[in-house]
């Protein structure tokens, strides 16, 4: 997961002085109950994308893995970590096959976001923030990346107006300590200096959960999050 690797790298930059005692919080996100079946998406109206998906893809609101693991959950330090600056590197958000890749990205407030169109058709990127200015731009094929920043932390729903099934999320955070649960719902927040942390897990449909974790010295604390699946 590119975002995560890079966030580790970023964290290293920030934390090199205390690297000797760097703790790690890692764990797994799971769900209980039966989540609603994700519906297949018909891309009939966009042939160039349709032919890229011989098996129709489904909506990505709830992505589950083996043994009840839940993916696309943003796990981050909501309190306790030093409020580092935004890293210089940009986060890239790609539109390919009329899908957002990845479905959820996390970035730091003020960090550069590059939106890239990898398709042969025009896309329209329309984030709907609450506390940041809203914008709505189209991107023809071959057009340069759209470069934007968000100054306030929030979770922003993103849509493509031309292809209404395209839906993604920008998790704009005040910290560089974040991870997005992937393959098997696992996550890991490395390079944490000793201290008391609040870890928050956010899911676009199931909401948020928090846990208190204390890191003393060079250790790896493991915590798990478990969300209750909604019937509808």
């Amino acid at each position: 997961m590119r975002t995560r690797n890079f966030s580790i790298a970023a964290a290293m930059l920030v934390l090199c002085p205390v690297l000797t005692f760097a703790g790690t919080i890692s764990g797994k996100v799971t769900y209980t109950g039966t989540p609603v079946k994700q519906k297949p998406i018909s891309m009939a109206k966009e042939p160039s994308c349709d032919k890229q998906h011989p098996i129709p893809i489904t909506t990505e609101t709830i992505v589950t893995g083996a043994n009840n693991s839940l993916e696309n959950v943003v796990v981050y330090i909501s309190a306790g970590a030093d409020d580092a600056n935004a890293p210089a590197q940009a986060v890239t958000f790609t539109q390919k096959g009329c899908q957002y890749i990845p479905h959820v990205i996390a970035l730091h407030t003020g960090q550069e976001l590059h939106v890239v169109n990898g398709d042969q058709t025009s896309h329209n990127i329309h984030p709907m923030p609450k506390s940041n200015p809203e914008w709505n731009k189209s991107q023809p094929p071959g057009a340069p990346p759209i470069v934007q920043k968000f100054d306030n932390a929030e979770f922003i729903s993103v849509k493509c107006q031309i292809h209404p099934w395209m839906h993604g999320w920008f998790a704009v955070l005040k910290t560089n300590h974040y991870a997005i649960s992937s393959d098997g719902g696992s996550f890991s927040l490395p390079n944490l200096p000793p201290g008391k942390y609040t870890v928050t897990a956010w899911h676009e449909d199931y909401g948020t959960q928090t846990q208190e974790v204390t890191i003393t010295g060079n250790e790896t604390k493991s915590i798990d999050f478990s969300f209750k699946a909604k019937a509808f």
């Binding site: 329209n124 809203e134 709505n136 731009k137 189209s138 991107q139 023809p140 071959g142």
Partner: protein, 591 residues
């Protein structure tokens, strides 16, 4: 309103440059200013149409320089879907309001109506000046939309609510851009009202001795009838724009119904009626078509008579036809709304008067053709464009047969058939009238002749080009090609793209041909051969002025006296085969 009384006296000739050429009260200068404004607008509008045509057939091709011109609208020079619609909206608005309303009506009307009735100036010169400069302001407001926020509006020149009313949620340009559009049209309405008021009062009150209503040339009548139509039409669009602006800015709900979810934003409105906007707009919108075409009809008849060296079989019938059309134009607005949820019965109610308009239109055409028969037709740039006008008027007219019938409209509504129809009948035809007028009156306006050879080439290329562009539109429409699409992706549209390629080439070609005209205009203005006082041997008053261009008060401190009906041709007289309206000479009309 009582403003008008004070200026109604003959005003002294100005001396300062500003008063002479900028804030001039002289109807001739104001007419030229209108002409210049229309020229600026038509060039802009044409360039926009070029960009659109190119984008349609090469959707992903970067257009050189465009990326620099509009970073948001065309990143890297590739036109975005919204930018296409924004260009389309601006093209329509510029052409309909600032070209088709200004050039044949305001420009030529201002210059020649007072002269043709033997007056020193308009009835209210200061109103006249205000009306031009208000139009200019409207023009600037509209163009400024290119440079604000995310660009001009994208809801088309008809600005259908709620798309035009809900604001930025509806897409790029629907924020401040759309507001500027509304304000611009609002201001334009005020200007047009002042203008028409001036035309009407002038025609009714400032006619010189002997210039009875029945002795006014056809074109004077055309301007007069047009100003009557415009007065009522713009008086309706004005409040409509006000309500639209209030919906956008003050949170009222005239046009916005409840429970709209636009781009995941629930709109804080309720109870408005989108159809209300359509009714108000088209009550203006359809008469507007005739505001564009009637002056052209007048100009063409006037010039044709002079070049046929005979009166029309009956030029009065043409005037009556124009009146009939003007009257009918207020009973047909619903034919734009057959499919927008009106009571299906009212569709028929609107359909019949629409079909009725065919009758006066046919009568006029027959009179033109019948008058050509046995005439001594002179072929020059002006008369050629008149003939071109007739051809276009017919071509665009017959396609009206189809659209006037609700049953066929079910299939053809909102296809390229409609686009072809109105571009031919109100776009190209009216513009041909303007070209004819320009070639015909240029000697009077500048004292120099235009180059005839260039003029004829300009005509032939324009005629071929415009047919090549707009005839295929009809067949695209019959194939169900939907209009206002920024790209053709649907399975049934892709096979039509070659036709669109052809049209694009034709459009570029025709546009290039207009450069001949621009060159001719500029070159002749300075280097053209000096014009005799009455180069076309025409009878109406504008050719009786002591000089070309006419002196400040048109007739050098004197007042012409009119003795004849406007078109005394084919007679034996001291001057040749015609008698000036101002000449006391009595002759037998030999016909």
């Amino acid at each position: 309103m009582s403003e008008m009384s004070v200026h109604a006296g003959p005003h002294a000739a100005p001396t300062s440059f500003i008063r002479k050429y900028v804030f001039s009260l002289d109807h001739k200068v104001i007419g030229l200013q209108y002409y210049g404004l229309a020229l600026a607008a038509v060039v802009t509008g044409m360039v926009l149409s070029w960009i659109m045509r190119v984008h349609l057939v090469w959707p992903n091709a970067p257009i050189p320089g465009l990326g620099w011109l509009s970073k948001v609208g065309a990143p890297g020079g590739v036109v975005t879907p919204e930018y296409y619609l924004q260009l389309l909206t601006m093209h329509g608005t510029l052409m309909v309001f600032f070209v088709l309303t200004n050039a044949p009506f305001a420009a030529f009307g201002n210059y020649f109506l007072p002269i043709q009735i033997g007056a020193e100036d308009m009835a209210f010169p200061r109103f006249n000046m205000m009306s031009f400069w208000t139009t200019f302001v409207a023009f600037c407001i509209l163009l400024s939309a290119f440079f604000v926020g995310d660009g001009p509006p994208l809801s088309g020149w008809t600005g259908y609510a709620p798309l035009s009313a809900v604001g930025a949620d509806a897409g790029p340009g629907q924020g401040i851009g759309q507001s500027l559009w509304g304000i611009s049209i609002f201001v334009f309405c005020i200007a047009s009202l002042l203008g028409s008021l001036n035309f009407i009062a002038t025609t009714l009150d400032l006619r010189t001795k002997g210039m009875t209503l029945s002795r006014m040339p056809i074109v004077t009548w055309a301007w007069f009838i047009t100003s009557c139509i415009a007065l009522l039409a713009f008086a309706v669009l004005l409040p409509a724009c006000l309500l639209l602006i209030l919906d956008r800015t003050a949170g009222t709900s005239f046009f916005i119904p409840a429970g709209l979810n636009v781009a995941d934003h629930i709109q804080p409105h309720q109870g408005g009626s989108p159809l209300l906007w359509q009714h108000l707009f088209w009550f203006f919108g359809h008469p507007e078509v005739y505001i564009a075409i009637l002056p052209a009809i007048g100009i063409v008849s006037h010039i044709l008579i002079c070049n046929m060296r005979r009166d029309m079989l009956s030029h009065r019938v043409i005037i009556y036809c124009m009146m009939a059309i003007g009257f009918l134009s207020y009973m047909v607005w619903g034919h734009h709304m057959f499919l927008s949820g009106m009571n299906p019965f009212s569709a028929l109610v609107f359909s019949f008067p629409t079909l009725m308009i065919t009758i006066p239109a046919t009568i006029m055409t027959l009179i033109w053709l019948g008058s050509l028969y046995g005439s001594n037709l002179r072929i020059n740039s002006a008369s050629l464009f008149c003939l071109g006008f007739i051809s276009m008027f017919v071509s665009g007219g017959v396609s009206g047969f189809f659209l006037a019938q609700p049953s066929i409209d079910i299939y053809l509504h909102a296809t390229y058939f409609v686009v072809g129809h109105f571009h031919m009948v109100m776009g190209v035809a009216a513009i041909m009238g303007v070209f004819a007028g320009t070639y015909f009156w240029f000697p009077k306006m500048t004292g120099r002749m235009m180059n005839e050879t260039l003029g004829k080439w300009h005509f032939y290329l324009t005629l071929i080009g415009t047919y090549a562009i707009f005839m295929p539109f009809h067949y695209l429409g019959l194939a169900g090609n939907v209009r206002r699409y920024s790209a053709f992706q649907d399975d049934f549209l892709v096979p039509l793209i070659p036709v669109h390629k052809f049209i694009t080439y034709a459009a570029l070609f025709t546009g290039a041909a207009q450069l001949i005209f621009i060159f001719n205009l500029v070159h002749s203005r300075f280097k053209g051969s000096p014009a005799p006082p009455n180069p076309w041997e025409c009878t109406s008053l504008e050719w009786s002025t002591p000089s070309s261009p006419p002196p400040f008060d048109n007739f050098g401190g004197q007042h012409p006296v009119v003795h004849h009906d406007p078109y005394q041709y084919g007679v034996k007289s001291s001057t040749g085969d015609y008698v000036m309206q101002t000449s006391p000479e009595q002759t037998e009309v030999a016909s």
